[in-house]
Subunit: 469 residues, 2 copies
């Protein structure tokens, strides 16, 4: 068994042979052009770009399997690529190899409206899927900020603003087609709504970040578009009151569809970036209510009452579809709004989750930490899940900025772990959070490594991520 | 690596030494009495009893770990035992070894009411947990027929009548304490509501049926007891109309809490066993509605209208808590009601799930199969999940009865798999469904075996179940 934590050196000979064979297989869809390699050198993160030796534009599961078989034969790294919007260095190629870009695998393979499920190729994005099923009265709710590919979303166990009501990718992937590290094609899960049939391979690959195999197709749950949907904005004079509102709403068990926090720095960025007229630079909650007409109204009235008790403003409503869309588009663009506030800088988005009862304490302490250390790090978050992000803006070429961000991130993770939380709620581990993962999982980390060794004994699948140093 | 599919012979010397060492460790809590071994020779199933060589009554995670370490040293089978209510031979000891009975690990370790989660020892039963938290306004909804242990429920990925609304154990286990095959103690998951932190070890052990390690503690989601709960019974002249009602309710997206089908044979057994006065021997649906007063009423009215369109009777209501409890107690006792109808026989409960759009076709064809083959096999099921059970009554000593049940079960699994379903929705694989699992998973089965080999290389954890022949 190889030691996946050992420094993993470039296999130059193997790479040369694998690229040649892949070229023979794919022709023009195997590119070694520098520009293409550079485009695939990192995601939307602050990591040092690390281009692969070639990019394979695969169009089918069988092509992915053929490329993986070539790479397996020569023990060459394989890096999966969907939209390149990941945030923890997942798509970098630190020791080279072949990146398999599945963005061309963009077909919705089946929609079973009466069973409320569908099957898509891995390169279909969340927005493309929702556009495709618009006429069915169904929707797919998981919505990270980026218009990410569904294969990538499954790979990092993404979530977004709707998870408080509809769950994360973990709850919404019914099954997968996976190309294993030896280039075999397997199917996990299926169309049944529940199953106790053997080990839960679906959940082994969901969140494995391409380190155990490449997801090429995803079977997903869909949901009926609710009869009534209404969004509302509520503003506060202080952050603590906003967070306390969230905690109370959850403890009442109100099935809100979305409940998002933006601190005053994040609001300033979003107002500028998304032209949110009429909103103030103050800590703010965005809500959305789904249900029957009567049900959504009942939820909204109860939440408004709770918000007022905590000093929130009267709700500013967005009931027309275009207003709701504008509001959530602004929320989804929060990261890009921060980037626009700091031209030339890159973003480092933290991603802790804590139990709801500790959320106020954790956010207030973090806010103080940001102030004390003079960072520019707007906060936003899926606070209904106990999850929030600080978007630290930094110039990765300035060592002091990088170090300050690193130290802040470490304190934040320690704070969250000390409260029974996790170091990442939806961004994944990549190369950025391996140390945090080891701290969080302790003895259990060794068993993750055993699974890696069992399913990818030559450590070719996205090496250096999740369970490697 | 051992071949887990090879015949696994008794390790007599190892067993003798392991039992001696465990005796020295546990004293009176290690029993080799024949009566105790016989009590632990099988679950509530039709399998040939296979007693272990000794039963260890562990009282802590550390004791479980100590016994496993002894067994690991001598390469002796370890079989976990909660309440012994499993249905697929999970708790048999076909090649002997030590059964670890965790029923004495019955403490609720923490209840975090404001975060709606708790941590229990594996031997706490679902009813004991709900009794413990009664005063908090919270409930734990997963409810298989038996009052099973929560460790056992996690191990087979149990569900029950509430899964259509609240999910199965898969959705409700936040984290675990596990004793691994080498006797180490690891923690998986945690108290965060969501996490992307590395491989999802929680879901590796949930549903692994004790074949990868022993679950000793379970962190669970809890739910607020709804403001309003009402149950209703609706009867039909034919099975198809009842199933069609279910399909329509699901397609309307009505968030029913429970939606259970009992065919006329099952109703006859339940009326006799549970004294359900006023109900007829007809295909029947049991419903439950949870929500605010207004919300539950709105759901019930819509469902009543759908039921009437399909020829259902007026709802017979159970709104008082004691009436609701009586109704669901009767449903939970469906299996025992079948046993009471056929004194001296054992039950063989099938457990397929199909996509909802195929449910009517699958149940109608199965009903016809039962009639054509002269079986006594009442049908009941969690039809909101597409899951139903046929409870075949048989005398396991009469080869022809066993063969007929086996052939029927095989046809049923083939029918469900042909419709995109699964061979087991909530009972698990055990020793009874290994062939079905291989058929269902195809190429993927080999990767389940790799995980088994990685986490239990000496094949001591509940050997012969899930991934062995």
């Amino acid at each position: 068994m190889p030691d996946t934590t050992a420094p993993y050196l470039r296999n130059d000979t193997g790479i040369r042979l694998a690229v040649e064979e892949a070229k023979a297989l794919l022709g023009d869809r195997l590119s070694t052009a520098q520009a293409v390699r550079d485009q695939h050198a990192r995601g939307e993160d602050y990591f040092t770009p690390a281009p692969p030796d070639a990019v394979a534009y695969a169009l089918s599961t069988e092509e992915v399997a053929a490329v993986v078989k070539i790479c397996a034969r020569h023990k060459v790294p394989v890096i999966p690529w969907g939209t390149g919007t990941s945030l923890e260095g997942h798509v970098t190629a630190p020791t080279g190899g072949i990146t398999i870009d599945v963005s061309g695998m963009d077909r919705v393979l089946e929609v079973n409206a009466s069973d409320m499920d569908c099957r898509v190729q891995a390169g279909v994005t969340r927005k493309a899927l929702n556009a495709h099923i618009r006429d069915t009265g169904l929707m797919f709710p998981v919505d990270p900020g980026a218009d990410a590919s569904l294969g990538g979303m499954a790979s990092v166990c993404a979530s977004g603003t709707n998870a408080v009501r509809y769950g994360t990718m973990k709850e919404n992937v019914l099954g997968l087609t996976v190309v294993t590290a030896d280039g075999n094609i397997i199917k996990t899960g299926g169309r049944a709504r529940k199953s106790s049939a053997g080990y839960d391979l679906t959940h082994v690959y969901v969140g494995a970040e391409g380190t155990l195999g490449i997801i090429t197709e995803v079977q997903l749950r869909l949901y009926g578009v609710p009869e009534a949907m209404a969004a509302a904005v509520c503003q506060y004079d202080d952050l603590q009151s906003a967070v306390d509102t969230v905690v109370t709403v959850l403890q009442y068990g109100i099935p809100v569809a979305r409940m998002e926090l933006l601190d005053e720095a994040q609001m300033e960025a979003c107002i500028a970036f998304s032209k949110l007229d009429g909103l103030q630079v103050k800590p703010t909650l965005f809500f959305e209510f789904h249900g029957s007409e009567a049900g959504a109204k009942e939820q909204a009235e109860t939440v408004q009452a709770i918000a007022e008790e905590h000093g929130g403003s009267r709700f500013s409503w967005a009931t027309r579809e275009e207003d709701r869309n504008r509001l959530w588009e602004a929320r989804h663009n929060a990261y890009y709004a921060c980037l626009a506030m700091a031209p030339g800088k890159r973003g480092w988005a933290t991603d802790v989750v804590v139990p709801i009862s500790r959320l106020t304490e954790c956010i207030v302490a973090t806010k103080q930490d940001i102030a004390e250390n003079g960072l520019y790090a707007p906060i936003c978050g899926h606070v209904g899940d106990g999850n929030f992000h600080c978007c630290i803006m930094l110039d990765p070429d300035v060592e002091a900025e990088k170090q300050a961000a690193h130290d802040f991130s470490k304190r934040l993770v320690d704070r969250a772990l000390g409260m029974g939380g996790t170091c990442t709620g939806e961004h994944g581990v990549g190369i950025g959070k391996i140390g945090s993962l080891m701290k969080e999982t302790g003895e259990a980390y060794a068993y993750m490594r055993r699974i890696k060794q069992a399913l990818d004994p030559d450590n070719i699948m996205n090496p250096g991520k999740v369970v490697a140093l």
